[in-house]
Subunit: 336 residues, 2 copies
DNA sequence: TTGAAAGCGCTACCAC
DNA sequence: GTGGTAGCGCTTTCAA
């Protein structure tokens, strides 16, 4: 049988309610008794009964995260990062890999205190609920839950601006231009707007629709791009995986990054460092993103009536410079 | 406030213990009352309080799965599959993305009934515990917990045998020959043994160590393989991701699958169907594997004293034929 | 500063 | 068949 507070009480020769208080670090208990109780609890290897705590407090201290169906490096890294942040609080995190409605049901059953949901499309509008819920995705007037938005447009501005400062003018975009996914739409529109705002030329043939987000889509994207007679001097890539393919294909085309062509990738993840050519990337730092998401859901749980609890958050992306960009000088011309 | 059995009891005009029995489908309740109670419960949207159930029954009906840190399509598909199986029982599944010791701790806190652990290396030997635990990995005398083993050697035999029956003699192996990972070792040794048993010639230069399990490792593996003067007529690939790279590179070498070269891949996953060339693959069917793992852990939980509960299971892999293999006839010679 | 006791929602046992 | 009730382990008043 497991150790309970009653066992501890018996040994410490106090009532079990005192033990409970001591264990919860209540100021109502004399420091000496508190210490005595703590010691005994440790010796006995006491572990509080979670179910009992939940039953009486009506709170679980669990945050549920609905795991996106798609497996992509960036997301799994983000989940790990969020988990780290949550561990630092008094909450725990559990994952559900079921589809949204099922996940919601499971989490209700578990009586989680709050839910984090990675929104990957407009398809699954989540109805208003009694449970605090935070969406990681794109802001949208239809969402009834607060959204943490990575601000794709701003990221793209940073990317374009960085390249412009290096002297680049023809900057291509390779990404999934599929209009179903608001994140992809935002990235591309952000790129277009930045190019426009910064008065850079827009060329139809420099906008490559990969039709997907995997490495092979990036690979094929470069092929398509390189069919032009003249080449851009820089590429902005829509995602980590796409960049993998871009890098691979560019190399096969006997071109060097960054000497022949500069690349900035979306998805500011540490993995960029380990690529064949460490890529300069834009996006919200994963750690910052994880922190914001975590704070948001906890605020939502603990201060549901605070006005800011329901506000959306538009994050501040940053650019992380690595080895994939080079100033454009007149002597460096792309080869064919 | 949530609906409790007391609320239902009041409306149904019975005692709340009767309600409890009815809700648990006890034969001790008259069908008519049972039905009445059920109806009321539904109308009120009654949801049993999980914590209370757990508290009194001392069981959680939760199975914890320690999610491997590495993100690979096959594993995430397997997790999804296991989840499906578990959903069909009265258990639920939660995932932990923390490192082993932390995960174990979390799961103990949750008082899960059992744990599934994906073993990816020999590094983390799990100590004997009070909790039922099942390992998915390679059998090994050091494991103190039952293991579900996909039987890599048998898979490789199926692959080699299939190719032999099609007339192939020179069959290359591209995979991670890293000796740290018992699964990779088993695959390669299985291949060697099968080649030997089936009296096929073994060529050093046909054994490609990719040094990793990602697509690019397969890609580079083919490059290395094709440096030989003469080429094999078939390739066995060590994993799904490796196959992606193999396919890509083979195509770039202007060779056609299966006309110029046949491929059999390890990892019998549905995704093989959707590849550029649907790959014939060997391995345990994911659904079967998921079922076995699920059954094993549940058996372990519910009949801990049954002699079979602690037995390892060596699974039966199968070959799934798709479009990547062709009989070898004398006129078809690999090009250079 | 400590203890007694109520009660969270439920299951299981025993009595009727 | 049904109802009464103890008790799972804990937190939280309230009283001492």
């Amino acid at each position: 049988m497991n150790v309970t507070i009653k066992d501890i009480a018996k040994i410490a020769n106090v009532s079990y309610s005192t033990v409970s208080k001591a264990l919860n670090n209540s100021p109502l208990v004399k420091p000496t008794t508190k210490e005595k109780i703590m010691t005994i609890a440790n010796e006995l290897g006491y572990q509080p009964n979670f179910a009992a705590q939940r039953l009486v407090s009506n709170r679980t201290n669990i945050i549920g995260l609905i795991w996106p169906t798609i497996d992509r490096v960036v997301l799994s890294t983000l989940v790990t990062e969020i988990n780290k942040k949550i561990e630092k609080t008094h909450y725990s995190m559990i994952l559900s890999v079921e589809p949204i409605p099922k996940s919601l049901e499971t989490f209700k059953r578990f009586q989680v205190d709050g839910i984090i949901y990675f929104d990957e499309s407009f398809e699954n509008e989540i109805p208003e609920m009694d449970l605090p819920l935070v969406i990681y995705g794109v802001q949208d007037p239809y969402h009834v839950h607060p959204v943490v938005d990575p601000n794709h447009a701003k990221s793209m501005f940073l990317a374009v601006n960085h390249l412009k400062n290096l002297g680049h003018k023809r900057i291509a975009y390779i990404g999934d231009l599929n209009t179903e996914d608001p994140r992809q739409v935002n990235k591309f529109n952000g790129y277009l707007k930045a190019m426009n705002d910064l008065q850079l030329p827009l060329n139809e043939q420099d906008h490559i629709d990969t039709g997907g987000l995997n490495w092979n889509h990036g690979y094929d994207g470069v092929k398509k791009l390189f069919q032009s007679n003249t080449l851009p001097t820089a590429i902005i890539s829509g995602s980590y995986d796409i960049s993998e393919g871009i890098l691979r294909r560019v190399k096969e085309e006997q071109m060097d990054v960054p000497n022949d062509i500069s690349i900035v990738s979306y998805d500011n993840v540490p993995q960029m460092e380990k690529m064949e050519v460490p890529l300069t990337s834009v996006g919200v730092s994963l750690s910052y993103l994880a922190k914001k998401i975590t704070n948001k859901i906890i605020e939502h749980i603990e201060k549901p009536d605070s006005p800011s609890a329901k506000e959306n958050i538009l994050l501040q992306p940053i650019i992380t410079e690595r080895d994939s960009c080079k100033p454009l000088n007149e002597t460096t011309k792309p080869t064919f």
